[in-house]
Each structure stands twice: as structure tokens, then as C-alpha cells.
Amino acid sequence: MSVSPLQDSIASHETPGTKFFPPFEMTPELEAEIDERITHYPDSKRSATLPLLHIIQHKFGYLSAKSIEWVAKKLELEPIKVLEVVTFYPGFRQSAPGKFHIRVCRTLSCAMGGSGELMDRICELTGIDRSQSDSHHHPIAVSPCGRFSVEFAECLASCGTAPVCLVNDDFHEGVTAEKAEELLGKYKEEN
């Protein structure tokens, strides 16, 4: 039997990207940041669910059962109330992505501009296999070395400069397939 009921129902698994993220552990600094964030919702603590998950995912790469339980406890909620949020939103994930997570826009204007080709080229250059990916359940594919992962995103609200993508928090526009190598180069040297 595992320690927590959530542990059994959660889909976390080890990926090549896991090694780039520290395991979940609350620190006084992080908790202070979280406590401050909760004050933004004076009328209902539950409203802080999404922001807390963002803070944790940003630091630890993904949302483990432990972290979900921690958030539930902090906000005085049943863990399922937090898990149902995690499982709904495409922006939350339960396994580690690559160190650099690339989200390529697949919607109409970008597709017309060649975002499908861009995705193919990125996968070719990074050795990522998307054959097991599907948009609902397994949107993310990680490279064997764990440095890169890819995911198709829906319209990133920059259709006039298609094709576009996000690499972690950096936005890139006009990224045709020919520019994929240059794009990845920006993240290869950096450690």
C-alpha cells in the first residue's frame, strides 16, 4: 500500500527530463511567496488553487502527488478538488517535461504558415518521437537526453507573425522550419 491515496491515482512517471528538476520540497521562501499570493484572494482561499500550482510547477517542473496534497492542505480543500483542476487544464502536467519545453502553435494561421513542418523539424533535430503522443492524454514528448520536449499548443494569439512557439517562458515569432536549428541553438549552449 502506498502512503497516499493520490499516489495511486496519479499519472506521474519518470521521464528523461526528470533529472533536470529538483524533487518537490517546501522551503520557507517558497511558502512565503505562496502565503503572499493567497492574500490576493481575500474573499476565497480556494481561488488561489491555480496560482499555487503555477508557482510549484514553475519550480519543480511538474505536479507530483505530494505537491497536489500540499496545495490541498494549504488551501483546506479535499485533494480531489486540486487534482481535478490539474487534470483539466492543459497548462498543468503530472510528469517532467524537458529542461526546455517547446510549445508550437498548431492552429489555423500558424498551420498555414508552416507550424506542422516546424514541429517535424524540431523533432528531427532533437530526436523526439511524437508517435505515441495524442492531444488529449499524452500531449508532451521528451527528447532522449531530456533537454527538450515538445507539445502542440492552440492559438498563441500572435497569428500575424505565424508560425510561433513558446520555449519555457520565451516567445518566438516567425519561426519557420528553416529557423528551427537557430532556435534550438539558443538553448543548446545555455546550461
Partner: protein
């Protein structure tokens, strides 16, 4: 003299985008103040809140988020004897495919939005406001938080704003990558820390029963920015921009198959499609012709570029109007059977297959349905499956009919307007390009099994061992 790194087209009229691409412009509060920033807020604080709403009503401002509902009128829907707190929410989810305008406001001119929001909060009596920013704008969230902090330091936000006795706090709330959070009641659920399942209207009109079941005004980023200009100019002056019932300026974003895609702030109704596509966007790509245009975000009905519309004027008289002569306003686009929506214009030329366009949009809606109501959840998925078959060359002519019937079974039968958003593109593409779609099908395909299971079943029924 204002100079721009990307100069506006001479046909533009810039209010909201005055500072976008402006040389020497940055997001700091000092830059904003040097440019006369927050003067309109000071003016508004000297007015009666109901007079601010009065000016917004006079201005004729219609919401820029999609539905085009009059902003001033929405504000008056807060129940008159309300004793609960009132909230204001700025909708910066900007996720309707084809729409890219709020992005530039929040990344380049955050104080314009904050000033518009504080004025609006004062008008409707909101002491707490949230900016719901889509998760895919991480930099915007940071810029906005810094801007709010700076505005608080200078007492444009916080307690007793500029000595007026009015208190207001603004917070940034980040979404997590779901389109349905743009729908105002889905957004509210999301802000309450839940799955963003839209609420049924009635009774959950946000102005009466919104965030925490309190009166809540939800407005788009661009709409809230306009409020500031309405206060500066006065409602009557503002209403002189644009055309009657379709006043002011709005930002149009053009993407797809044009020589020069981009954003343009124009007076509503003062430009035609032809002027937009040829003068501002440089026409079609070399050797190509315009085929179809989605005029107001992916959820609006597609129009053929060779179409002629019969439309009724306000006096009941009928006239015919060619696609290229459609003025870019709310009412004419509605009369042509589509809508101005969010101002996102997606252009397709003759190199595009409509089945591929349809399939791309169906994939979007199948992915983004919140799953709460059956017609939408199941229908959006089936529409994608059928259009998958068409693009793969595995469809029969009947599939086109089935696809059409699925769309009509969603439209009007769901909790929120996502149902229309997902079915209108299908209905319109089939109505207008039926022959093209049918030409990609083959009656023989009706005989084919569609998946491994049905192939196995067929073999079994035929007496062959599986």
C-alpha cells in the same frame, strides 16, 4: 511628434495602439506619466460614478471581446439595490484563434489598461478587480504585476486613490491553457479555483451572479482601454468616431494569406474589406487569389470572397453587397450572416483546401470543449473524426451530410456559446464549399470499415476468423 518602429498605415486611427511600436516608449510608469498618463483617471474621480457610466453609454462602445454587447448597458445590469461586493474582471484570455490585439496592449502599454480598469471600477463600485491573463502570456503577467505595483506606489491603485476616498485593488490571475476560460462564466469558475465549466444563463449572468455569486462586470482588455479615451474625449465626441451604432476605433488583426499580415486600428465601419485586404495588407500573395475570409475569429462564419449578399437596411429596404464592399463594422457583418467578433481576420487564398481548414478548426474545438454538455463534447469530437476522414480521402459523400447534421445538433443546444463557436465554422464551410468537399469524397468509401474494430467485426460477420 510620435515616431514608430513599425509605422501605422495612414488609414489607421490610433487611440488604443497609440503607444504600440512607439519609439522611445517603454512600460514604466514614468514614461506613461510623461505622456499625460492617469490624467483621465483624475478627471473621472471628480465625476459621479453614474455619470461615467452615462458617458460610456453615450459613446456607444460595444464590447471588443466577441459579442459586441454595449459596455455601458452591461454596467447598468448590476442590480440597483445590491448590497454585495462588486467585482470587475478584465478578460485577457485572448484565445480565440485569429485574435491578436490584447497581447500588444498588455506587453507594451500596461498602464493604459490599469487606468481604464480603475476608472471602470470607480464607475461600477468595484473594490477588487482581477486581470485574467492566459497562461501563455508569462511575460505579460510579470509586466502587469510590476505596473500595478508602480501604480500603487503612486496611489493610482490602493487605498483612497488620489485622495478621492475610493479604494481599489487589482490582481493578476493566470489561466492554465484552456480556451474555455475566455467564456466569461467559465473564467469566473476558473478564478474561483475550479474547472472552468461555464454556468448556465439565466440565471448566472455575471452582472447579477458572478464571482462568488456577487455582481461582476467582465470586459475585454480593449473594451476597458476604450473607457479611458471616452472619459478624455467625452461620450459624444467619441461617438463621432466610426459610424452610427458602430462607434469608436477597433483593432483588426489580419493573418493568413496576405502579403502583409498585421494589426491595424481603424475607425469602425470606415473601411471596407477591399481596403483592408488590398491597401493595408498588400493584397494576395503573388500569383494567388483570395478565396475565403473568416472575419471575426475562428468562431465566426466564413465568407467567400466571390459572394454577393442581400442585406436589409434599417428601413427595410434590400440591397445587394459584394464581399469586398462589406464595411468593417458589427451590423453589416451580422447582416451578411457572420460577425465582427474579436476582430481577428483570417484570410485563405486559392492554394488552400477547405477540408484542411475545416479539419484544423475541428481539431481546435474538439480539444477545447470543456466536456460539460453532451452535444458539444461528443459533437466536437465527431466533427473532427469526420473531417479527418475527408482530408485522408476516406470519406463518402454522405459523410459531408452527416458532418453537417452533427453541427446543427450542437448549435443552440448547449450551456455556453462554445456550442455555436464550434458548429458555425462547420455549418458555414459546408454551406459555402459543399461541392469542393464532396469532390474529395468517394461513394465507395461508404463500404469501407473506418477503424480496426469495425474491420475485425466485418471479417467476423463475413464468417472469416478474426
Amino acid at each position: 511628434m510620435i515616431t514608430y518602429s513599425k509605422p501605422p498605415h495612414p488609414r489607421e486611427h490610433r487611440l488604443i495602439f497609440k503607444n504600440v511600436d512607439r519609439q522611445g516608449w517603454d512600460t514604466s510608469i514614468d514614461c506613461y506619466l510623461q505622456d499625460g498618463g492617469y490624467e483621465d483617471l483624475k478627471k473621472a474621480l471628480g465625476m459621479e460614478p453614474k455619470d461615467i457610466t452615462g458617458e460610456v453609454k453615450k459613446s456607444g462602445l460595444r464590447g471588443r471581446g466577441g459579442a459586441g454587447f454595449p459596455t455601458g448597458m452591461k454596467w447598468t445590469f448590476i442590480p440597483p439595490n445590491n448590497t454585495k461586493p462588486v467585482y470587475l474582471i478584465c478578460n485577457c484570455d485572448e484565445s480565440e484563434p485569429g485574435t491578436f490585439k490584447d497581447r500588444y496592449i498588455v506587453h507594451q502599454d500596461p498602464h493604459q489598461l490599469i487606468e481604464g480598469m480603475v476608472i471602470s471600477c470607480f464607475a461600477v463600485g468595484a473594490k477588487i478587480a482581477y486581470i485574467y491573463v492566459r497562461e501563455e502570456f508569462p511575460q505579460a503577467a510579470e509586466i502587469l504585476e510590476k505596473a500595478i505595483e508602480d501604480a500603487r506606489e503612486k496611489n493610482f491603485v490602493g487605498k483612497n486613490v488620489q485622495g478621492s476616498g475610493f479604494d481599489v485593488e487589482i490582481y493578476v490571475h493566470r489561466g492554465a491553457g484552456a480556451y474555455i476560460c475566455g467564456e466569461e462564466t467559465g473564467l469566473i469558475e476558473s478564478l474561483e479555483g475550479k474547472r472552468p465549466y461555464p454556468r448556465i444563463k439565466p440565471p448566472y449572468f455575471p452582472a447579477a451572479l458572478g464571482l462568488y455569486m456577487c455582481p461582476t462586470i467582465v470586459n475585454n482588455v480593449e473594451s476597458l482601454c476604450h473607457v479611458k479615451h471616452i472619459i478624455r474625449m467625452g461620450g459624444d465626441e467619441y461617438a463621432k468616431l466610426g459610424v452610427p451604432r458602430n462607434t469608436g476605433t477597433r483593432i483588426i488583426g489580419v493573418s493568413g494569406d496576405v502579403k502583409k499580415p498585421g494589426y491595424f486600428e481603424i475607425e469602425v465601419g470606415k473601411l471596407t474589406m477591399r481596403e483592408l485586404l488590398y491597401e493595408l495588407c498588400g493584397g494576395p500573395k503573388d500569383g494567388r487569389e483570395f478565396k475565403a475570409v473568416i472575419p471575426g475569429g475562428s468562431s465566426s462564419k466564413i465568407l467567400r470572397c466571390d459572394e454577393t449578399f442581400k442585406i436589409k437596411g434599417p428601413d427595410g429596404s434590400e440591397r445587394s453587397l459584394d464581399f469586398m464592399d462589406i464595411p468593417l463594422d458589427f451590423d453589416t457583418l451580422a447582416a451578411c450572416g457572420s460577425m465582427a467578433g474579436s476582430g481577428g481576420v483570417i484570410v485563405m487564398d486559392d492554394s488552400r483546401k477547405m477540408s484542411w481548414v475545416l479539419n484544423n478548426l475541428n481539431s481546435f474545438y474538439a480539444h477545447e470543449s470543456c466536456g460539460q454538455c453532451t452535444p458539444c463534447r461528443e459533437g466536437s469530437m465527431w466533427m473532427k473524426k469526420i473531417s479527418d476522414r475527408i482530408v485522408d480521402g476516406d470519406a463518402s459523400p454522405e459523410d459531408v451530410e452527416t458532418l453537417e447534421s452533427v453541427a446543427y445538433q450542437i448549435d443552440g443546444k448547449t450551456v455556453c456559446a462554445f456550442g455555436e463557436a464550434s458548429s458555425w465554422p462547420v455549418e458555414a464551410i459546408i454551406a459555402k464549399f459543399r461541392e469542393e468537399l464532396v469532390a474529395e469524397t468517394d461513394p465507395k468509401n461508404a463500404e469501407k470499415p473506418h477503424n480496426a474494430e469495425s474491420a475485425a467485426q466485418r471479417k467476423f460477420l463475413a464468417g472469416e476468423s478474426a
